[in-house]
């Protein structure tokens, strides 16, 4: 299995490995990120299924997961079953990107299918993929400001209107769930588990 192969490779190179819910996560260092990705491609992970950006800014401490930097980009690599000798292995290498210098190398040269998803991560998180052939905003208008999936970007809700000027402001309505305020639902609240003070 290529999955075991990748795991052995990670152990050999000193890459932290974590298995959870059947997914094999590998935390690649940003400096040698491209080298390792190339090695995985060599290994037979011929298909890039997804590029996932996560902003761990508000992620609470005290959970089994620790995140050294604010942003993470998670890649989903598949050895495509049904194509050549693919065996269906999946690995989830990830790389942490610091907030101060949100740049990382692109993998579009290894997997052309990374084109759109990398643009999406650029658009929604503001991470710059160096060497990407066509790094433009993809989902938002070209002139949009900010990167909406960052945790500090507001959701931008408008109140729901009712008769006689009554309204529901979603953010305060939901505040109970965030454990910050009791909110309009009248729920007494209580700290959200894992919520960072």
């Amino acid at each position: 299995m290529r999955r075991d192969q990748a795991k052995a490779y990670a152990e050999e190179k000193g890459i932290p490995v974590r298995e959870e819910h059947g997914l094999l996560h590998l935390v690649l260092p940003l400096a040698e990120f491209k080298v390792h990705m190339g090695a995985f491609k060599e290994m037979g992970f011929n298909y890039l299924a997804d590029v996932i950006g996560v902003d761990y800014k508000d992620y609470p401490e005290g959970t089994p997961w620790q995140h050294p930097e604010r942003f993470a980009v998670i890649y989903e690599l598949v050895s495509m079953p049904g194509f050549k000798d693919g065996d269906g292995s999946r690995i989830y290498p990830r790389v942490y990107v610091p907030e101060a210098k949100p740049r990382l190398p692109t993998v579009t040269d290894l997997w052309p299918s990374a084109n759109f998803p990398e643009r999406e991560v650029y658009d929604l998180f503001g991470l710059v993929f160096e060497g990407h052939p066509d790094l433009r905003r993809i989902l938002l208008p070209e002139d949009a400001e900010g990167h909406p999936l960052r945790k500090d970007h507001p959701l931008g809700e408008t109140p729901t209107l009712f008769n006689d000027g009554r309204y529901i402001d979603p953010e305060s309505f939901r505040a109970g769930l965030r454990g910050k305020d009791k909110g309009l639902t009248g729920w007494r609240g209580g700290r959200r588990k894992g919520e960072r003070r």
Binding site: L140, P141, P148, L155, G156, E157, T160, P170
Partner: protein, 177 residues
Amino acid sequence: MKSYEEEFRELERQGILFTTLEKLIAWGRSNSLWPVTFGLACCAIEMMASTNARNDLARFGSEVFRASPRQADVMIVAGRLSKKMAPVMRRVYDQMPDPKWVISMGACASSGGMFNNYAIVQSVDSVVPVDVYVPGCPPRPEALIYAVMQLQKKIRGQARDASGRKLPPVAAWAKGA
């Protein structure tokens, strides 16, 4: 400054509005509403379904979904309108010849619905004047047909809002647009 309502009544009294010819025109217009294909999201599928064999919007003379806005009378905004799409939609609307109507189909188009966020225009009324709103997510095809019937009533000058005010036959005219 007379209100629109007063002017409307006065004109009606004087027989300027809704003379026989006006009635004929209103009849023609209301029975030949050609929609422009403006499908955005889920509602577009129900809009398609409203023309299918089961529901058959064609019975009302509205089967000819015109791809070119120049030949259309009514724009059915079917689905959520993103802020990226809003200028395009306004442009399509501007390309339609007068008189033109807008049906805002579904929760997202009418009010933003559940997508109360940075990306979606909360109510297309902020982009184009809306004649009829259709709630539902998505509205059944029959609900759209009901909306078309409501619009026909409006074009014939028979429509009133909840406070009993008579509504102008074209929403765009009332706002001085």
